[in-house]
Homo-oligomer: 288 residues x 2
Amino acid sequence: MNLSLNQWTTRRWTVAEAVDGCVRHGLEAIGLWRQEVAAQGLAESVKLVRAAGLRVSSLCRGGFLTAGGLPGEQGRRAFAAALDDNRRAVDEAAELGAACLVMVVGGLPGVVPGEPLSGPVSRDVAGARERVAEGLAELAPYAGERGVKLALEPLHPMYCADRAVLSTLEQAVDLCLPYPVEQVGVVVDTFHVWWDPRLFEQIARAGERIASYQVCDFLHPLPADVLLGRGMMGDGVIDFAPITRAVLEAGYTGDVEVEIFNADVWAADPDEVLSTMKARYAEVVLRS
Amino acid sequence: MNLSLNQWTTRRWTVAEAVDGCVRHGLEAIGLWRQEVAAQGLAESVKLVRAAGLRVSSLCRGGFLTAGGLPGEQGRRAFAAALDDNRRAVDEAAELGAACLVMVVGGLPGVVPGEPLSGPVSRDVAGARERVAEGLAELAPYAGERGVKLALEPLHPMYCADRAVLSTLEQAVDLCLPYPVEQVGVVVDTFHVWWDPRLFEQIARAGERIASYQVCDFLHPLPADVLLGRGMMGDGVIDFAPITRAVLEAGYTGDVEVEIFNADVWAADPDEVLSTMKARYAEVVLRS
């Protein structure tokens, strides 16, 4: 397993700066975000990672496929727009040679992250999960033709309303099994799944379907914005070693991305963040 | 099904005031909290609910059985103290004639709700779940002898670290099945379980094991203190009707408790809260 920097961990760095940082710290892989790639320019981003000899362990992110659950024309348009955007994301992932496109599938139709409820909202969580399956049926062949693997990410159930109605690894594995393994896989992100009583059984079941292993800690207490509850490994409550071991035993040979959304980490010197990240990876994530 | 006021919803009311409020609003049942019963006096509380002709739909709460996972003498003492406290809670539930004693089983050993991590902490979530099973083995016969049913409450996974390592209804049902149905059951609380892809299958599986049905909404966005993310039914993202229907179809005939932890609800006039609660119960919870 090789350590990879998900660039959101060093959020103030551009793609160019993050690529330089990886090289400076001896990392061989980087996880990129679409908006940062767009800001740098897609062609320029491709050039930078190639020149640095970095693997692109993932592109974040596609998904948000559930808005089609809104009634009538509004729903149809939202679904079509989401598919278009996801096809562009697949194209970008292909250009970058990313190991996978991370899919955050979307929450309840009409629920906007961080915003109070307003306008039409659907509370039909089962229906929203069906919309995800429908979207996947459209996108998986498109991704397959371009050599891109879609990686379905189950998110912690506290994000079920606004970000991902995929709440367990089991659901994600269920969804990907109808497709070829090179088209659809799953993300195992410690923050999202550590609490799950079925975690180890589902990691084993996922096997070669594991397209990405992401690590960060679950902080306690959670901060006021729960999106920023992701901490440096060792700063929270997760026991990483058994999860890492299970992912390895399932056959995963890819990179391990550190993806931290955290106001203190973002405020810190990114070079210090990388140094800490490398040390904690060895001490906490790989410790057996 | 009959509506019950969980007294935490009208937190500023004493037991006497909450009993009066229930009578004034035509409610036949009340859910009590141990600290409020202690403040009123146990014998006086018994007298008040009897005189008012109210059912006690639950006593909140026993549990916090996981601290025994701390090493050595500290762990042994904490486990013994937790058992003692739970036996007292059983005795109080027996005196009150409560339909069940709600069990919030406890989080990771050494993790304190609302407090930063400090001192010894165990990150062994599987071990903590074993401690819960051990505690239950001690307490179930004790409760059975006194005619009290322990009701295991799975809490939303965002409380796994600090309040309950029971995170799914499936886990709770697994834990209660070895015991007689009159000794151990489960709580279905909409706030905690609405997101669970296995919810409906597990409600059906729970059947006569459902000892309590609690309702409140899941707010979006969550407030800064996630403990207070519980809202009045209709103010959040939960589709109550299918859950209520499933609980009924599973054979539940008990009371439906409204339990809301919410700064705005606590600040409001409790009589207005009860009026709104009755209206929303009819419109949102029972709507078919």
